[in-house]
Amino acid sequence: MESKTKNKQTAVDFESCRLEHENIKADFPILSQTINGHPLVYLDNAATTQKPRVVINALIEYYRKMNANIHRGLHHLAEQATDAYEQTREHVARFIGGVDAHEVIFTRSTTESMNLVAYSWGEANIKEGDEIVITEMEHHANLVPWVILAQKKKAVLKRIPITLCGHLDLSDIDNIITPKTKLLALTHMSNVLGTINPIAELAELAKKRGAVVLGDGAQAVPHLPVDVKALGVDFYAFSAHKMLGPTGVGVLYGRRELLEAMPPFNMGGEMIREVRFDRITWADLPHKFEAGTPNIADVVAFDAALTYLEEIGMDNVRQHEINLLRYAIERLSELDGIEIQGPQEYAQRGGAISFTDTEIHPHDISTFLDSKGIAIRAGHHCAQPLMRVLGKVATARASLYIYNDQADIDALVEALKEMRRYFGI
């Protein structure tokens, strides 16, 4: 790793953040390029993050020195690759609060993790009349599988509404989470509003009423210190690519007792103990859920991303984001016609900043910003039901990560000012 924050501190002031950044940006080769004649300002981190050199190098090194299929090989490379793959699993287990590595399943994406739970646990456990509770701010990944499961099983899909400020509205929670609730599936941090949900409190309530709890950590794990045991969730899903790792690696944490009772999701190689034509026994955890050759290289390189984040410290990642978020919201609030969605209290939100312009469509905003080298996202952010609740067809979203700095926010704000002049508003 080329640079790292030297001292672990919880209160980083603006000045030290900026210094921190100059070093950090240099670790990300992609950030040094120009787009449309302007230095790249990358503010689409809730979609995916960029990769530091250490991760890119880990991928190259894997293919140069270690590539082999894992788990069954009886040769040197196969043993090395297997060790590296399993080392990442152990690293992930430590990273999310110290769970048993057998409880960490590698998937293709957060979405696939949700589908694994829906098809394996859901098929076996949800019955007619059961209730599945979600929230109005779910990403389609934590929504579509439950809508389909509920339809198939004739179960009832209930939702926790949101308040005008973009928090979960818990005023009627006792009528939403009931003894009939079999599953509570909710996001830890909204990819649209940035809201950090009180997942531990809700998990406690749901479990008292006998429900299983699944957390969507796709936006939370990259940005906050997360301890899944402290959250009290039974399942928790996230992906590597939103936290500096390669694409194509998802994680599903599941409580051992639940995973052991669940049937496999995919069938084939790797996931069996013994196969006869008439009788098959499943492999133990976690291999039961990892049929076929997994995404070995990307899992191996994910280890470098975890190390990189640990060396910065997740407390620092969070603190930096709070500081930059405060600056961004202050600066965006100066602008006429810009409305920021979601909570305004920094302590209760992360760095995904959805905004709209009263006059200009989000797609025009995004196209204009791109002409200035600024990458944001515009659209429904895979949360169409939430868009309807917000009364918006789409929003523009700038989302932050460790390498962003005040200069990035300044570039965004200046470009938005120029945009209004350009469109004649």
Binding site: H361, D364, T367, S371, G379, V393, A394, Y422, F423
Partner: protein, 159 residues
């Protein structure tokens, strides 16, 4: 400002976007058609009054990005007063121009020529297409004898 951006947001496009034509709803409509691109959030509602084989009047209400609004406004301006056959021909020429299926344009497209710049932004082509496809689908249904049935059109599936 980068050139492709100015090429897409030409003055004519921005003028149609700021003051869209055909906003007044019709009292009597022979053709009614809805279009929407859910992934963008663009939505269009279109009414046409026909008289003896010509488009007597047209109303277009489009909510969306500058490109979809301007394209819909241009449609309203160009199509009004044209024979149905001519209107269809124009719609087909615009569709082909946007999809890059040949630029042999013999018609005088007038303002519509300004839509050419959209082709440099592939993800926005569907925005420019929405009004035209919605118009054509409405006419098609009318010819089948159910012009009063709302058709739901999207240009997102054929990207």
């Amino acid at each position: 400002m980068s050139e492709p951006l100015d090429d897409m947001y030409r003055d004519i496009i921005l003028d149609h976007y700021r003051s869209p034509r055909g906003r007044k709803p019709l009292e009597k409509a022979d053709v009614t058609s809805d279009g929407s691109n859910p992934s963008c959030g663009d939505e269009i509602f279109l009414q046409v009054e026909l008289d003896n084989g010509t488009v007597k009047d047209i109303h277009v209400d489009c909510r969306g990005c500058a490109i979809s609004v301007a394209s819909a406004s241009m449609l309203a301006e160009v199509i009004k007063g044209k024979s149905i056959e001519h209107a269809k021909k124009i719609a087909e020429v615009v569709r082909k121009m946007l999809k890059g299926e040949g630029t042999d344009i013999s018609d005088d497209l007038g303002d519509l020529d300004a839509l050419q710049g959209v082709r440099n932004f592939p993800v926005r082509i569907k925005c420019a297409l929405l009004a035209w496809v919605t118009f054509m689908e409405g006419l098609k249904n009318h010819e089948k004898g159910h012009g009063d049935v709302h058709t739901r059109v999207s240009t997102e599936d054929d990207e």
